[in-house]
Symmetry: C2
Subunit: 367 residues, 2 copies
């Protein structure tokens, strides 16, 4: 089974693409204590909790479970306190560890709880959604949503290892599969041209059960590899890692404007990538044909390609409050060729507004 190393200078770790039931043997050398907490939500734990806990117990751990309600609206300081309470009651110390079994919400919350309990205990990420497998579980970003916004409060806290079992995607709702594809497409555009081409040739890309297992493994491995490479070259998001925000500047604004209700994160990122691609083409730094290929791939992934009910001025304003702002300038990551992108600090706001205007207009749903 493939493994990918994330060679961070102080906290290197391994991403294992393997069966869930191997968790015990993988964790044993990494967590010296005997107590573990598994944080999950009831739906996911119902599917995969039993084999996971059995494997950890077979490896000698005393395992308790902390179930939190599913959904982004529970990614709050209050749920964080629930996890801290559980850590306190089960006497999790610095030799113990926490396992995040779930999608991005479980991963971000559990990672932040581990980052802040006793000023930092070990966390193992076991992502169960495509989005979490290729993005959220790798790189140590953790956090919660607060009244100020999404993910403005959090910490960098690297996992001790990541276990990705592709077979758990069988129970993933199809909208979540398509949403995760947005991040996979992102890696194709900014980092790995071969991944982009591979995606273009997957028949029925939008329907996970129809994707052959060997192609699924290839998509997951290439995506995790891309994320690992970028993160290991820039752990704290001071430079290169900003590339991973491709599609996210506009994407976050769309999510905020729609109160996180209309679009999933991946759908918003897909829209953001389409807009950023059109912006890059408009500015003459990306070819029209590559921008069109990206738009076609986003559509083939079953992602929305327009946002008909949004006001470009509202989106512009929201981007001014985004954390990727430096001294009031909105930063954009823009592709240059397939597999490469660069940071642009001073894009003319009129150009951005013009692109947004095109995407809010009705009709031409597949352009």
């Amino acid at each position: 089974m493939p493994t990918i190393t994330v060679p961070l200078p102080t906290t290197p770790y391994t991403i294992h693409l393997t069966e869930l039931s191997r968790i015990g043997e993988l964790v044993r050398p990494l967590i010296p204590g005997r107590r573990l907490v598994v944080v999950s939500n009831p739906v996911i734990f119902g599917h995969y909790g039993e084999p996971l806990v059995a494997s950890l117990r077979a490896a000698g751990y005393t395992v308790t479970t902390c179930l939190i309600p599913p959904g982004e609206r529970f990614k709050t300081l209050k749920t964080l306190q629930t996890i801290h309470d559980h850590c306190h009651q089960t006497r999790i110390d610095r030799q113990s560890g926490v396992i995040a079994l779930g999608g991005g919400v479980v991963g971000d919350l559990t990672g932040f709880a581990a980052a802040t309990w006793l000023r930092g205990v070990a966390v193992i990420q076991v992502p169960t959604s495509l989005l979490a497998m290729v993005d959220a579980s790798i790189g140590g970003k953790t956090g919660v949503n607060t009244p100020q916004g999404k993910n403005l409060v959090g910490a960098f806290h690297q996992p001790r290892c990541v276990l990705i079992d592709p077979t758990v995607l069988a129970t993933l709702p199809s909208r979540e599969w398509r949403s995760g594809l947005a991040e996979v497409i992102k890696y194709g555009v900014i980092w790995d041209k071969d991944l982009f081409t591979l995606l273009e040739h997957v028949p029925h890309l939008a329907r996970q059960p129809k994707v052959p297992p060997e192609i699924l493994m290839e998509l997951l491995t290439r995506s995790a590899q891309a994320k690992a490479e970028v993160v290991s070259k820039d752990e704290k998001e001071s430079g290169l890692r900003a590339l991973l925000n491709y599609g996210h500047t506009i994407g976050h604004a769309i999510e905020t404007a729609t109160h996180y209700r209309t679009y999933t994160h991946g759908e918003a990122v897909g829209l953001g990538m389409k807009a950023a691609g059109q912006l890059a083409a408009r500015l003459g730094i990306w070819s029209d044909s590559d921008a069109a290929r990206q738009a076609a791939l986003i559509a083939a992934a079953g992602l929305p390609t327009q946002f008909p009910h949004l006001d470009p001025d509202v989106l512009m304003q929201l981007m001014q409050g985004d954390k990727k702002v430096q001294n009031d300038h909105v930063r954009f990551i823009l592709p240059t060729t397939l597999g490469h992108a660069t940071l642009h600090d001073r894009v003319n706001p009129d150009e951005v507004r013009a692109v947004l205007q095109e995407l809010v207009s009705k009709g031409d749903q597949k352009s």
Copy 2:
């Protein structure tokens, strides 16, 4: 003016013992953005806010202030959110920074707010209490108190620099001065025998205004140096740094048992050191004469030397829940000679109980 380097591998920084009005020139090379938030409480800001802010503005920064209520009972997640709100409203980004002007509560809260806002922004510590100068401001420990306990939730987040102005101690309440001395005595016992001897020879040690400025500077410099040396050899408290918990295992239990109302942190640590010293002597690893010298110095510092109303069994139970627990064994830091201490994992609980019993007994107040 003395400077001390904290040579951490990834985040080295300098402790400056100098005038408050030099803050602007010291911060300028460290924080590239133009926005700063000063977090303080109204009392301290009333004394020292004006020259601090003036110096920062003269260095070209746009400065806003976020005042939080004074007192340990406000070291909560709720106050943390107040600081995050202020960061959001004043658009603090990753190029900006946060200045903590105050004692341990302001320093810990502001440090944790900086650690978690946008997953980490720069913080400068400007401690105004003796305790904060010699302990809390150095080493990157940040956190809040939660229903689970004191400082169980927090993060390691190193400051970009620390500015210590000894003259601000003129307005420090005398009980806080004496409390801070507990940590200074601690460094003498665990790390710096010359500091211990110096303390023994300070006339009127318990009364700050009577301590000559050059001796005060020597106490501060040696204490900060001790903390910097220990911290730089063990940033994340996996080994050596545990020495700094000398007196804290019993101290924390005393604070918890009295709901943080009867004793200040320093007073509780003083009691904890006295108990740990007696325990070490009882176990034959420290001389009775050194234990007696420590007890005499704690008394000379005007710190309490007994805790007459506490139940040893309650304290024993509370120590089982302390975060310095590893797999149920309570850890004690115990002195071996003046200037040296070691970690003991498996002290017989009966011996601990016997020492506590001596200290809860009435009479013999100065022993």
